[in-house]
């Protein structure tokens, strides 16, 4: 440090940078990421990220598991929106086996995926609130998230790591309770969301705090392979649901919200708007489902779709089929496919290579978090330390997806 007498005698003071270790367990970071920051006072001069603190070797496990047993693994990638991962994986396999999926199943899938997108964005945006010191929003919106969880629970029995659906469709038809709860969510959620927005979006303190915090330009974002809300906040209208529609997204009418500067405020607002679009998509999907025959909940892929549980317990053939499918003794075509879905954080891709065996020969997950987190040092450079924390939470870095 500069001596007092140097300052008194007006000598040029030598600039000293300090090193700050942020993480892997730090109260302000959500999840475990280590960043070693080079600080000039409060200003971040440089940063180096270390990841891999919960590396669980998903891709290695996937090479040792039959196709149906990989679904629970995908749950644990981005655990804020597990159903999107599950259904994305099912669609990848269906692409490989060239399965025809009925329209009703596709619409049901869209309802689930949009619900989980809302659940994902609710966590991210309310946590931005927490990091700016507004805990209230978090406490408000979590009750609506619980309502979404109740729907998942009604469909598949689990809340967070859902393992929802099967290759080919759903394991059972949706009960009337699901539809009732869905109507209930669609009634209360917009009100709650509006309330949450009233709390933050036009709040002077919040805007001053988040605007201009951790910006990234569209060119930079593209060169770093950003996808999802973070890319759209920078002003690029890329959305997998529109560019490469899956599960009949092309029949739906929705907007892609984009930002301008790619700062925390834009990321927050893009997520907010996406939730409104999701609500509208769900409403459209419910209308479309009503026009379809009500008893269809899976496609006709008997070699891959698990037989009815009732039959498994009571019929010999069904039990054998069930066993064969679960153990992966079915004929999977040889080939390689890449299928992408718009996950909570961006383009979630599945690159699947099959050699005809019971397990995938190679399965690679394109994890949006892992790819865009590498731009983090670039985004926080020159900003304040407290902005660095906020940037991280607004990027919505999910440790499970980051480290695979």
């Amino acid at each position: 440090m500069a001596e007092v007498k140097d300052i008194v005698q007006n000598k040029p003071v030598e600039k000293i940078y300090s090193t700050l270790n942020l993480g892997p367990t730090h109260p302000a970071t959500h999840g475990i990421f280590q960043n070693i920051l080079k600080m000039d006072g409060e200003i971040v001069m440089d940063a180096e990220s270390t990841v891999g603190y919960i590396h669980r070797a998903f891709e290695k496990i996937a090479e040792h598991r039959p196709y149906n047993q990989i679904t629970p693994l995908t749950d644990r990638l981005n655990y804020c929106s597990s159903p999107i991962n599950n259904l994305g994986w099912h669609m990848t396999v269906e692409k490989l086996i060239k399965a025809e999926i009925p329209k009703r199943v596709q619409y049901l899938r869209i309802i689930i995926m949009e619900l989980s997108r809302i659940a994902d964005h609710l966590v991210c945006n309310s946590v931005i609130g927490v990091d700016t010191g507004a805990m209230t929003g978090f406490l408000y919106v979590f009750q609506y998230r619980e309502k979404i969880y109740e729907i998942f629970e009604e469909i598949c029995g689990a809340r967070l790591t859902t393992n929802i659906g099967r290759i080919g469709g759903f394991e059972r038809n949706w009960s009337p309770t699901v539809w009732k709860k869905l109507d209930e969510v669609l009634e209360v959620l917009p009100k709650g969301l509006r309330e949450f927005e009233n709390l933050l979006t036009r709040n002077r303190i919040f805007i001053d705090r988040v605007s201009g915090c951790g910006p990234i330009s569209a060119e930079k974002a593209l060169s770093y392979s950003f996808t999802g809300p973070n890319l759209r906040a920078a002003g690029v209208d890329y959305d997998v649901r529109v560019a490469n529609p899956y599960s009949s997204y092309e029949e739906f009418d929705f907007k892609i919200p984009v930002g301008t500067t790619g700062d925390t405020y834009d990321r927050f607002m893009v997520r907010e708007q996406e939730m409104w679009e999701s609500i509208s998509i769900i409403r459209q999907a419910i209308e479309k489902v009503k026009k379809e025959p009500a008893d269809i909940f899976h496609g006709k892929v008997p070699e891959f779709y698990l037989p009815d549980k009732e039959d498994v317990y009571n019929k010999m053939e069904a039990l054998i089929y069930h066993f064969k499918i679960v153990m992966g003794e079915m004929d999977v075509p040889v080939g390689e496919v890449y299928h992408a879905v718009e996950g909570g954080n961006g383009e979630l891709g599945f690159y699947l290579v099959s050699d005809g065996g019971r397990n995938p020969y190679r399965l690679h997950f394109r994890r949006p978090c892992f790819i865009y987190y590498q731009a983090y040092p670039e985004m926080i450079k020159g900003g304040m330390l407290s902005d660095a924390i906020l940037t991280m939470s607004s990027m919505n870095v999910i440790a499970g997806e980051l480290d695979a």
Binding site: G52, R56, Q143
Partner: protein, 185 residues
């Protein structure tokens, strides 16, 4: 005991003791146990999916504050309870251990979820197969991830342990042996 039906929340019932006009006498163990039990400061060591369920437990719907544990202590120095939630990779092991060593006695450890308890479905080269390989654990919560109700149940189990713990336990030979087994101090 009995179910308390009054609308106001009570922190707990007074331990057994002698009561007279203007005084109440009980053993120090019990008084301290009651006080500790209702003010456990947890350190949420959340790494993955279980952390999200813990957030749900913390939030308005399930409200961990009812058990005196809403004050999260992110600093290990002031924490009473280490809640390990989620997969602990081998890379993370030494860090978790350091956090545990930094905590002051008396301390308790709660292992939430299959991953922290046994490695769960991740039987791989990179995952620590249960945190009890590096530190003693008081309560395990099963589930992948456990439901918030289960987390609350786990916390109540910890409360029971805290309430009934003898003040001398941490000086006992048995406890020292346990620490030696894990190479602590």
């Amino acid at each position: 005991m009995g179910i308390d039906k009054s609308p106001t929340a009570t922190l707990g019932n007074a331990p057994a003791g002698y009561e007279g006009p203007g005084f109440f006498a009980t053993s120090l163990d019990k008084a301290v146990g009651m006080a500790r039990k209702n003010s456990i400061w947890p350190l949420p060591f959340a790494t993955s999916c279980c952390g999200i369920e813990f957030m749900a437990t913390m939030a308005s719907h399930y409200d961990l504050g009812r058990f005196g544990s809403e004050r999260l202590s992110f600093s290990p120095r002031q924490a009473d309870l280490l809640m390990v939630m989620g997969t602990i990779a081998k890379k993370m092991g030494p860090i978790l251990r350091q956090v545990y060593e930094q905590m002051a006695e008396p301390k308790w450890v709660l292992s939430m979820g299959a991953c922290a308890s046994s490695g769960g479905i991740f039987d791989t080269y990179s995952v620590l197969q249960g945190i009890d390989r590096i530190m003693p654990v008081d309560v395990y919560i099963p589930g992948c991830p456990p439901r918030p109700e289960q987390v609350i149940d786990g916390l109540m189990q910890i409360q029971k342990l805290v309430e009934n713990e003898s003040l001398r336990r941490r000086d006992s030979e048995e406890y020292k042996k346990l620490q030696e087994k894990y190479g602590l101090n």
